[in-house]
Symmetry: C2
Subunit: 189 residues, 2 copies
DNA sequence: CCATTAAGTCACCGGGCGTTGACTAGCGGC
DNA sequence: GCCGCTAGTCAACGCCCGGTGACTTAATGG
């Protein structure tokens, strides 16, 4: 029987990396609770036991995933005067594909889970809010950072809830324009 | 043994209402997946089987809960010129207690759950987005409604993530002021 | 005061989860 | 060309979940 068509060469490091990648994508698409060890293992083509072996508990794996994507860093990379336009475009149009905001998406997905909440809170503050607030700076930097972050998260949530935005292309453009202005105002003022 | 201290008088209607209330509060505090039938039953002081009996499946119960709180209606009640201030105050200060936005909070809590997602989407659109968009009205009403709703949701999520906002009272005031202005601008323009 | 009916409980099922220890199979060194 | 080591599998465990049918108990009407 030619069962195993591509038996995956034995390489612990590569397999470990593949698991981590698969887990990252899963956690970006589903919540902490909805993602199963067997799902992740299935994506890679290995047994679920191997995932536990390599990463310890599911919570440990989640931490490893959070470690593996530099949360928030993507927000601050780029021209500051273009922040609003850049983020608005990212959130509205690039959200579906390989978004640079994947780290944020993972955090948002698992908001509801009490099991992941503590990790989400800590990671969100340490790697997202605090650096972002510092980057925003100026008078009431923390306040303005929180407003901007909330807006970005809210738009992301809105997109996820409605599956896209359910708006015409023209309306999407208008929304992008308005979102960019609001964001930029918050950052600048 | 005086085990049953208050044996709850036998009244199906009252018990049913008590279960519904308990479920509503549970779903407002935890996600769909994290809330168990046994939890709700325990809050009321009855057996979990009774919850199933009265409301059918867990999903049916969730629907009943969503039906029981008039989502979004609270948003549009009040002076339109005061919308920004009213909602900002509600989200920033009254969120912890018995918020009038509980219906929205329930939807937000269960975003991650694939099991509840469909219901959340439908309810969110039917009872929240669409009436709100109509209420906002004017040019690009749908777009502006979505922006405002996203901002409100984002601020709520931000509050939940960080457990309060972790800001000084002065900063909270500043945030409230800024949030009110942004919201009002979106509604007006 | 008892029979009937509805309100509520109890034990239990099937299923899915994360996790573990025993096992198998492929690769590197002698 | 065999051996040991390790990557990977397999079966199973314990747990908790939502849901169901049989049972018990309290109120009610005659």
């Amino acid at each position: 029987m030619f069962c195993h068509v591509a038996p995956r060469p034995r390489n612990a490091e590569a397999t470990r990396a593949a698991i981590l990648t698969a887990a990252r994508e899963r956690f970006a698409r589903e919540s902490y609770d909805d993602v199963g060890m067997r799902d992740i293992a299935g994506d890679v083509g290995v047994d679920a036991a191997l995932v536990s072996r390599y990463f310890g508990s599911k919570e440990d794996l989640f931490v490893s995933v959070l470690d593996s994507c530099d949360n928030g860093g993507e927000l601050m990379a780029g021209d500051r005067g273009d922040f609003g336009r850049r983020i608005a475009h990212e959130v509205i149009y690039e959200g579906k594909s390989e978004s640079k905001l994947k780290g944020l998406l993972i955090l948002l997905r698992s908001i509801g889970s009490t099991k992941a909440m503590e990790l989400v809170q800590r990671t969100g503050n340490e790697r997202f809010f605090n650096p972002f607030a510092a980057w925003v700076g100026g008078p009431d930097g923390a306040v303005r950072a929180r407003l901007a972050a909330a807006f970005i998260m809210g738009m992301t949530v809105s997109r996820e809830i409605t599956g896209g935005f359910g708006l015409s292309p023209r309306e999407c453009e208008e929304m992008e324009r308005r979102m960019a202005v609001i964001l930029q105002d918050v950052i600048d003022a």
